[in-house]
Symmetry: D3
Amino acid sequence: MVVRRVELPPADAVRALEKYGVSTVHEAQGRTGLLAPYLRPIYPGAAIAGHAVTVSLPPGDNLMIHVAVEVCTPGSVLVVAPTSPSTDGYFGELLATSVRAHGVKGLVIDAGVRDVRPLTEMKFPVWSRAVSSQGTVKATLGSVNVPIVCAGAAIDPGDVIVADDDGVVVVKRAEAANVAAASQQRAEKEEGTRQRLAKGELGLDIYGLRTKIKELDYR
Amino acid sequence: MVVRRVELPPADAVRALEKYGVSTVHEAQGRTGLLAPYLRPIYPGAAIAGHAVTVSLPPGDNLMIHVAVEVCTPGSVLVVAPTSPSTDGYFGELLATSVRAHGVKGLVIDAGVRDVRPLTEMKFPVWSRAVSSQGTVKATLGSVNVPIVCAGAAIDPGDVIVADDDGVVVVKRAEAANVAAASQQRAEKEEGTRQRLAKGELGLDIYGLRTKIKELDYR
Amino acid sequence: MVVRRVELPPADAVRALEKYGVSTVHEAQGRTGLLAPYLRPIYPGAAIAGHAVTVSLPPGDNLMIHVAVEVCTPGSVLVVAPTSPSTDGYFGELLATSVRAHGVKGLVIDAGVRDVRPLTEMKFPVWSRAVSSQGTVKATLGSVNVPIVCAGAAIDPGDVIVADDDGVVVVKRAEAANVAAASQQRAEKEEGTRQRLAKGELGLDIYGLRTKIKELDYR
Amino acid sequence: MVVRRVELPPADAVRALEKYGVSTVHEAQGRTGLLAPYLRPIYPGAAIAGHAVTVSLPPGDNLMIHVAVEVCTPGSVLVVAPTSPSTDGYFGELLATSVRAHGVKGLVIDAGVRDVRPLTEMKFPVWSRAVSSQGTVKATLGSVNVPIVCAGAAIDPGDVIVADDDGVVVVKRAEAANVAAASQQRAEKEEGTRQRLAKGELGLDIYGLRTKIKELDYR
Amino acid sequence: MVVRRVELPPADAVRALEKYGVSTVHEAQGRTGLLAPYLRPIYPGAAIAGHAVTVSLPPGDNLMIHVAVEVCTPGSVLVVAPTSPSTDGYFGELLATSVRAHGVKGLVIDAGVRDVRPLTEMKFPVWSRAVSSQGTVKATLGSVNVPIVCAGAAIDPGDVIVADDDGVVVVKRAEAANVAAASQQRAEKEEGTRQRLAKGELGLDIYGLRTKIKELDYR
Amino acid sequence: MVVRRVELPPADAVRALEKYGVSTVHEAQGRTGLLAPYLRPIYPGAAIAGHAVTVSLPPGDNLMIHVAVEVCTPGSVLVVAPTSPSTDGYFGELLATSVRAHGVKGLVIDAGVRDVRPLTEMKFPVWSRAVSSQGTVKATLGSVNVPIVCAGAAIDPGDVIVADDDGVVVVKRAEAANVAAASQQRAEKEEGTRQRLAKGELGLDIYGLRTKIKELDYR
């Protein structure tokens, strides 16, 4: 099953979410949407946001990633989840070359990736659960742009994927603008707090925690 | 429960332990005190030693880290262990800003950390079992400066924590001077051995292992 | 048991395998021989190939690595597997200094390694399952240059070990020349494909996958 | 957030799904909906199906299970997922006594459970990722009867949960009748196959695999 | 290092703790002292309490268990922790025969055990992290009756070990009588609660949670 | 690749190895050949030995098990390893019915199995790393009766597989008679030791460990 058209999130919201990053966005939407922390970037420093093109595929088979390329558009982030746990290397330099030619910003995969050195040199960011050369076949069908669960998070096609050194978070498409606004508010508020903390003020005082601790202590 | 005053280890011993590093110190004290190797630094190259300020807290709740800041002093290393396994992100850029203002040298946490990029840029070193944006609440009390078990090692407040690219080791406060001296001896002895090995001499001969192997072989 | 003489793979095949790297070699030999992906390099960028000197040793005991040094020759890669799972640090700066003096190109160990910083500075590459300072004893015998299983792969002494940022793969000694040739063919073929993909052609078309998908769909 | 009313799946479909069991149901709905196999029953032999009452709660906090009891009805299966990984014991004999009084058939929890002996004696079935006495607090709010991800599967309130010695599978409420019918068909077909296999006929012949193998071999 | 004499906990407290079991005891002492839940009993139904004889030994070496037998007395529970992670089988039928002859009630080991069938038949209970036939050597010294960390918990010789189907908990020797009394109180209180819950009363009402939830909701 | 004929081990050696069991056999052959302890029996009490029919297959694809049935003979033990890590359910009741009709004694699989309840009822023993309903496809070729690595052990077709509650061990075909004899000797010797230990004699004295400890202590 391949869904070719999905509604996209507003471009300015995506830009804002990319700017604020995973931890701020995760907080700004009420501490939801985080993918499992075993997903790690293959090199440090990458930070992207884009709309999800989702791929569900059988273990050890990357046929559907080739299918997915055709529905990718500039700004897509590929989100790939096998139907059972796997560390195989479903994706490498050739596929990165291909999807980059179609505007894809990066890959999030609940499995393995290979060609880490070339991918690093071409600055194509990947968040994966493993690095593995183990090759895959092209023998069985799956789905593109259907709802999937990737690394413990439910992701719909068109949702915003935000990824950086802290991990990966998903923002529901319809919430993207709100979460972007909330992220900005949080970032601005944190700036003030940072300055006070840097001068030595205590979080106990800034956040009003002393009263709370007393209440907890009396129980 | 918060203990505000703990006896500190001798400053020159701490400096020496920082210089010799985790592997030498671990050997010098009889191969004890190592924290589990799943604790990893968030960026390479950091190497610190300091006295432990210990924090025991419930899973998913970082209230007690805020409490601990108040008892930190220059040279402290925060050592945080949740009461059950967790990968949440209990600590990030704001808390790092706060504890640095109070002289804390780094964080060792048997859980997750977030804001990896800002922490790397501000050179605040962290050894953790995970990187995760997952936020925590401030709803339940724990303890500061009580004996804890962190990543499999028993740690008392005021013990010396040594951490570098090899991991984290704890030195009992009362043993700090002895272990520093033994570390120096070991380092000096290794220097001679290194030169002989570099010339191609065999460890079999330098360490007198040939006799031992013969004995083992005859059994 | 120590086997001192093993037949070596052809030197030009080893050079070629080092050049093409783990993922290409693994594919070129029919997707076999890959060691488990939990083996990771201690620093990025190293890429080596060499003939295996195998070491089987008891957990927590590195005596046999010292024994193995004597049978290493220029171009050797040490391949070490304990007889039961272990993360101890069997190898560090001193042993690296020693084996380098005998021409060893690197270490692959299904266990832990220590002195990561000095090893990185001296550019001695290691692929390990853990970084750990935990010291080992020298109390029990094992074997050198016998067939072993390391990280899930069967390895005979004299086999070619190829290791880079993607992991580690073993090539049977007798197959080294063939696999080197097949690797070259694959690399050349991929170059053409890469250029077509970079222009936006789809893998679906280049690999003729559309017909296959139709067939699969009709079943 | 607590949703009190959810549409229920047809009772006869639930009964049929309970009868056919996890593996048959999973196959009958196209190999989807399986929860991760780390969920294991606390005692062998239990086999249930019922409509999901979902609970999302913070790690180490079971307040929302108490809230959920009020919206349970005869035939409910509690499905509990903490917002980050946890092995704490959120549920034991007292809660089992309570939910049984409200008709709950069992518990599926992506975390720990305790009181295994009393739960076994009262035949209250639980599928969990751990057994742990670790107590939880009642300090933070979560949600009841919202869509959750539990052990890697997306679950909506009112979906059918089927659980037995093979694990746990979810069937979408709207698909329950169809999947029940498909399960019956599969079970009937398997009965015939079983008899032929028991007589020594080969799956190669029964499933027509010889032709397929020849085709694959020619590629 | 072998400590031959340790102070024992009061016998009636040990009996009471055995009766109330791990989950109740863990709660009664403020949710502390639990060993990691990866320790599992080798057969269901065993429930013991006794004073700890602690053993620290190198990985893959069980010499110190043989040493420990000599200091075991009726009511001892052997608590064994290797100095680095291990799944080897340090203990089997012969050692069980031996320690039983000296009154040992069971074994808690942060490693592997073997001879599961004979141990089950002779009803010698073991809580371990693995079942493994992997044999161990007798080549290196360790310690008996020193403070150890076992499965994440700090244990002193003479502490009370309580173990049943829920896992293992340690009670400090000096606290044994208090914790036994608190366990009895908790058990008695739970009995009343159980009857009310069985009649369908809600924990929300019995524990007064409705007010708390309202407060939390208003924040 | 399917090898139809393999040389079988001597039948009386297989019977003897089955009788002595995994731990004794593993010891009798010098503590080698053990498969990783994550392989666990799906029900307690089974104990078998037989000659290995090996199967190497791609992840998520059980076609080659169907192929293997044709080369199974009375006394075979199926040994199945996917080419990359997997927990899928490659084998269930139907395949068990089929292979039993051809004399297969049991299954060892470095992956998952399903239909645990029916398999338990028909007393078809399985040692697996997981229980999972996750279905597999029949789309890609592999090999039957080639050398494989299964759960960390190298296994050739025709080797003897011994499996019981302690796990699984492989005995090389050519060594089967010797290992059977050594197992008998070990079992007989242990009987005498058991009686002495049961009377309270110490292993320290029976095994002459006191001298050894003194030697170790002097170093």
